[in-house]
Assembly symmetry: C2
Homo-oligomer: 265 residues x 2
DNA sequence: AAGTGGTCTAGACCACTAT
DNA sequence: TAGTGGTCTAGACCACTTT
């Protein structure tokens, strides 16, 4: 099937796909699209070896670094895999390599006008075993317990609870109170800048209090997004979780060859 | 705070962090770690400008391409943002840029011994409106309806249902039947190789049939992972969904500066 | 030994931003 | 105008795999 004359002609034609040297699109990006096209068309199938980098250099009259870059991008997209000394191969679709982004939340987070944050409670609580464990402090130590309700388009959208380490030197509460945009919420806790955060997504159902606040039925499916924020000394400063009804949030992605325009990178 | 003498000394000391030119670690990777360290230590804070690429070249005695590569990696990690003509800046933690990977499933998918797939049903069904819509066919057209139960360590783990377009020319059913490893399931439908797939994650609760098969309580929280597979002609060939109880699956990620070893890329 | 991908150099030109 | 990031060249050397 691969070795007949018709196929060879197709191959030759495809290889003639040329770079447009006057285009504003960078050459590496054009090369990515050309190779993607050869894979998408079925000309190069999973397991097949791509032309070597030296061959691609000659064929498209570009330097090795440019070819390298194109192949790196395809590799990061999971479309090809490289193997030193052997070659570059078309990958079969890697289902579990699919990545989901929280950008479903982004439009909400960035919509300053449509999003409001209401603080339901902010009080001192002594850490129980669970809280102490998550925040790496001793039980009985003081924390600030905060409950927030986040509205999108005037409707309750997310319910957030968190425990923040209480540090008498830093008046966290006041600055936390001033957070009315959700976006600012994640950039800093109190006046300390955050270094990193661990996030976990779980499936859950709404409990009574949650359902009431979120104006949804009890037992309705929901996402639970748990977080721990760390400061620049690698100490946890905040542990909490967001609850969002399942009918208001979903995560979507595409794995394999996308036909969209290649994004700038 | 930034302009005093102590800080300047710290800055000078940090800048003396040198590349180990005998190390097996590539220079761009070492440079990434050095810059990450300067950010992680709080020396460079969100909003600060990094030294220009030319300066980094001189400081670390490497070529522009090597600096470029290091900064590209930091940029892809979301740790810095670049702006042509202005400079490269330390990013504040981008909560919504968090990406979750299905690799929580990977160990299950790749564990050939511990994972088995049992086919509960495979029958011809005429497409109703919903199925026809998803698969872009006419209502009443034939599809193959397949129900599978995936076991991990001899316990039911995931329940899968899908509709596959029926093509008399391709004996899909037999080859579908032979799929006993979950891994093979996603690489091909019948004998056609897959080009891409769209995936959506939703929160749901177990219905009666699902609960019984998965040996979990009815109404228990669960993830619903819906998929459409496309062939190389961009036509949908399969629409279906996986149901997995919430207590057996979670998605975790880290956003911001990780302290792990820098992975090869 | 020959071919492959992985890293790196020392420049170049360009587009964009700030002054 | 000077400085910045973005792209690109035409080579080089190395580690690895296959023959």
């Amino acid at each position: 099937m691969r070795g007949n004359r018709v196929m060879d002609t197709v191959l030759r034609m495809e290889q003639l796909q040329k770079l447009d040297r006057n285009s504003y699109a960078p050459r590496y990006a054009q090369l990515v699209r050309i190779l993607q096209g050869r894979i998408a068309s079925g000309e190069l199938r999973p397991g097949d070896r791509l032309p070597s980098e030296a061959q691609l250099c000659k064929q498209h009259r570009v330097s090795p670094m440019t070819v390298r870059r194109a192949i790196n991008i395809l590799s990061q997209l999971g479309i090809v895999v490289t193997s030193q000394g052997r070659g570059t191969f078309v990958n079969s679709i890697q289902f579990w390599a699919a990545t989901f982004c929280l950008d479903g939340l982004q439009h909400v987070l960035e919509d300053e006008k449509g999003t409001t944050v209401k603080i339901l409670e902010a009080s001192i609580r002594l850490a129980d075993e669970r809280v102490a464990g998550e925040l790496a402090i001793r039980t009985g130590q003081r924390t600030i317990y905060i409950r927030r309700l986040i509205y999108s388009q005037a409707k309750p959208f997310i319910y957030h609870r968190e425990y923040v380490i209480y540090d008498p030197k830093r008046p966290i509460v006041e600055s936390e109170m001033n957070v009315t945009s959700l976006k600012g919420l994640f950039e800093r806790v109190g006046d300390s800048t955050l270094k990193r955060s661990t996030l976990t997504i779980e499936a859950t159902v709404l409990k009574e209090e949650e359902a009431e606040l979120l104006e949804s039925p009890v037992q309705a499916p929901a996402f639970r997004l748990e977080h721990i924020f760390y400061d620049f000394d690698d100490r946890p400063v905040s542990w909490g979780w967001f609850i969002c009804p399942g009918d208001r949030l979903r995560f979507t992605t595409v794995v394999g060859i996308r036909d969209e325009e290649l994004r700038r990178r």
